[in-house]
């Protein structure tokens, strides 16, 4: 099914997919959570035999807050031309996920590769995949609290969030009023020439 490249969620201006130009030849489409499994299994039956990756994006000010992104690849089944082999069909399905915890149906039974990918998203975003056979953390320690890739997660972790950073870490290496880089290089060359007692370069 051909689809528009820039479908938007509920007409909100905060959906970056409505602004972003297409970055590859993938067909991008948006899907409702309750239609997700039907749509993905239809795509799988239509030849998208490979689930390359599952990703997630956090838009804290948007509702629904999360996007889960399925990257599908449809390899030609048989006897294809060289051109067809070189450009397999790529499909990207986005689904907006709301709620706390955000819930979305698992597709681990459709593609085995979804197993660890969904665990990773659960680990880092806290999105729960209903029907996943083994939904545990995969990268962070088992007893970790919080979901580090959410935008409201402090970068240095909740424990050290309040501790001051060393003074040098807050300072820029570049002094205020630094001229553009070409001028810096020219000034450096003049200094070198002066130190060597040569005629400064023009």
């Amino acid at each position: 099914m051909p689809s528009p490249q820039t479908p938007s969620v509920g007409g909100t201006a905060l959906d970056p997919t409505s602004l972003r130009p297409p970055i590859d030849d993938a067909e991008i489409e948006r899907c409702e959570p309750n239609m997700l499994r039907a749509r993905l299994s239809a795509l799988r039956d239509a030849g998208a035999t490979m689930l390359l990756d599952v990703g997630a994006v956090d838009y804290p000010e948007r509702e629904p807050r999360f996007d889960v992104v399925y990257h599908l690849l449809a390899l030609p089944a048989s006897a294809a031309t060289v051109a067809e082999v070189g450009r397999p069909r790529r499909i990207r399905v986005l689904v907006g996920v709301a709620g706390e915890p955000p819930r979305v149906p698992s597709v681990a039974d459709l593609w085995a590769s979804a197993d660890w990918a969904e665990r990773e998203i659960f680990d880092l975003f806290g999105i729960v995949f209903d029907g996943h056979p083994d939904l545990r953390r995969i990268q962070m320690p088992d007893d970790w609290e919080g979901y580090p890739l959410r935008k409201d997660y402090p970068l240095r972790g909740p424990a050290r969030e309040k501790t001051p950073r060393p003074a040098f870490a807050l300072k820029s290496n570049v002094p205020a009023g630094t001229p553009p880089s070409g001028a810096v290089a020219a000034a450096l060359q003049r200094q070198i020439a002066k130190a060597r007692g040569q005629e400064p370069p023009a």
């Binding site: 962070m140 320690p141 580090p148 970068l155 240095r156 909740p158 050290r160 870490a169």
Partner: protein
């Protein structure tokens, strides 16, 4: 030194034992990140840590005297490092190799332990990102000096 038949040497047993111990500091395989590449090159012929008697990288903590923590320590790795350190037989020494192992380095974030010395005691810190293989070799010689002077580990030094 060569001792001909009929000749003999006199020495204190302590000194001989320390000399033997310091000449066979076996490191534990503890490569955690890119510093491990420099650690491997220390073992390779160009730098040849075998000159110091430390070429036998052991995969078992029971057979190792020295832990070279080479690389950033993830929060998930910290309890494993502690456990391996506890499993090493006394006396044991620790080299914290590189900026990340010593202080967290550029990784001032939730996932990385800010210095392995919050988990295990460190004898020698090697600065650098990564340190040169010479730096690591020098750290091993500092460990050897500690051993020959009767140190039992836990003495802070900077390579």
């Amino acid at each position: 030194m060569e001792v001909a038949p009929g000749e003999f040497l006199l020495a204190k047993l302590d000194d001989v034992a320390r000399w033997a111990q310091s000449s066979s500091v076996w490191p534990l395989t503890m490569g955690l990140a890119c510093c491990a590449i420099e650690m491997m090159s220390v073992q390779a012929p160009q730098y040849d840590i075998a000159r110091l008697g430390s070429e036998v990288f052991r995969a078992s903590p029971r057979q190792a005297d020295l832990m070279i923590v080479s690389g950033r320590v993830a929060q998930k790795m910290a309890p494993i490092i502690r456990r391996l350190y506890d499993q090493m037989a006394d006396p044991k020494w620790v080299i914290s190799m590189g900026a990340c192992a010593s202080s967290g380095g550029v990784f001032d974030n939730y996932a990385i332990v800010q210095g392995v010395d919050t988990v295990i005691p460190v004898d020698v810190y090697v600065p650098g990102c990564p340190p040169t293989p010479d730096g690591l070799l020098y750290a091993v010689t500092l460990i050897q000096q500690q051993i020959r002077q009767g140190g039992r580990g836990g003495i802070l030094a900077r390579a």
